[in-house]
Symmetry: C2
Subunit: 346 residues, 2 copies
Amino acid sequence: MAANSEVLSNKQVILKNYVEGFPKETDMLVKASSISLKVEEGSNAILVKNLYLSCDPYMRARMSFNQDPDFSSFTPGSPIEGFGVAKVVDSGHPEFKKGDLVWGTTGWEEYSLIKNPQGLFKIHHTDVPLSYYTGILGMPGMTAWAGFYEICAPKKGEYIYVSAASGAVGQLVGQFAKLMGCYVVGSAGSREKVELLKNKFGFDDAFNYKEENDLDAALKRCFPEGIDIYFEHVGGKMLDAVLLNMRLHGRIAACGMISQYNLSQPEGVHNLMNVVYKRIRMEGFVVFDYFPQYSRFLDAVLPYIREGKVVYVEDVADGLENAPAALVGLFSGRNVGKQLVVVSRE
Amino acid sequence: MAANSEVLSNKQVILKNYVEGFPKETDMLVKASSISLKVEEGSNAILVKNLYLSCDPYMRARMSFNQDPDFSSFTPGSPIEGFGVAKVVDSGHPEFKKGDLVWGTTGWEEYSLIKNPQGLFKIHHTDVPLSYYTGILGMPGMTAWAGFYEICAPKKGEYIYVSAASGAVGQLVGQFAKLMGCYVVGSAGSREKVELLKNKFGFDDAFNYKEENDLDAALKRCFPEGIDIYFEHVGGKMLDAVLLNMRLHGRIAACGMISQYNLSQPEGVHNLMNVVYKRIRMEGFVVFDYFPQYSRFLDAVLPYIREGKVVYVEDVADGLENAPAALVGLFSGRNVGKQLVVVSRE
């Protein structure tokens, strides 16, 4: 530790233990630690002040014990991690200097020491809300963009179905598809969200899956001609119903299956023979693979925001005290739009 | 009917009723009808003598009531249909003449009147066994070729797993993969078949899935590095075990799921989240889409046969009386190699 370094209180969101089943607020603990705002002499680390933290479904995998290299477990007793927007307070790394704004993986705490800052993106455009770098201009935005344009290979006039459609990714997939001239239907879990889909994001149609007794019938009503592209967030029963309604040579881009994350045994999917009969391509993807294309993504999406062609709805929780509830709320669909946590506005 | 036409007895395999569950020999009836060996004046039809009939798993779908355009139901009370090799006896079609050998969809009977012969392929190469046009040079051969080269996008050195590997398609996929320099493991349902895989078809390894208590463990033993490509014939529990063992960016070519065809409710597949984590592309295909490439296929595969680079094992049932048992035997794995029926050798 460098001499004369300022030591501050540092509020943190700690994972108590590995989680099984549905995560609860009480699986986490908010408590104060302390931190020096100087990085050690000779280190490559940077010290950041966290501004906005992103609540993302993939974080559920990290709350359980697992050895997946992309989704490695959080460490019980330590702060959880996630994507966030932060400001550099001190830097031992030649590419970062005090005052820089960055987004990338950081800790759920007021200040974080980031030992390997190479994975962070510097934020150069601040004429848009900074919080957007947890969403439309961050990992969820890249997910929607790569999944839709690269995996779905969409064509004008095609029929697109988006589940979890008002969420961080879904609202963008729907708007990208409309910009391309597709017919877009989304589903979500409340009337309020369905209204958003139709009136704010311009989906052609939308339904509340909780009010449908028969998902197959709901999809047949919304897609009498069938579905060309399904952007999969949900898995389980929804995927089974979609498989019954896909068109020939349909595509399913799978970026997650949130309905399955809290089950000890995932639901079975029974209608996979449709993959054969209908010549369906179902392809999984992980957004990290597309991060090298980030600047190309920004060039495409920043103008959409500035020209008002794409809008983005956020659900903002205030303060780290409210962060555990915000994260847990993702899995009951409590959030309306992209869920994030403000740690500090500046 | 033309005057003076010769009328002959015509043995037929009749579907009694739509089938539910596991098909039985007694779902079919072999009985004699009669047929004129002349086509009607002014008709485009051809009259063929059937030589070899192909027993294929997809025929199970046609035994049940369904409205799929590719797999439309057989008509109860009428002969079933399938791919076969036949000789033209009389022709009203300018492109076919008496004595031509053809392969394509025909009836399970001694003689068939084919009203729309446009879909038939003429056989020009008879230096190879004629029966091969029900297998390696017919629909199953095209399935292996299109599925492996087009859908699997294989690369030298990759790890390939083939289920139902001694069957009409599997034995070819394995040999194509070896020719490309891949590491190939197959599974089948008897020791005899496993021996064939290793000693006749040159698979690197093989196992009897019926002797494995734990398919996941069997795959981990055969593929300590994981599976790049899975050629899917089976579905259900096998697919679930494979999903646990796929490598990053793996590909699953799905041409059928024979384990599911006789179930009233298909088994659930539980491990689809691996499609996301491992960025798997799972793609269904139907060989009919590739029929326009048949001559390109022949150019590739005929030399393999002539040069002995690919071998083909057939399981031959003699006579239409034995055809129902041969067809039903596919679903219990009774056949060793490509199952076909000889109606007449000339």
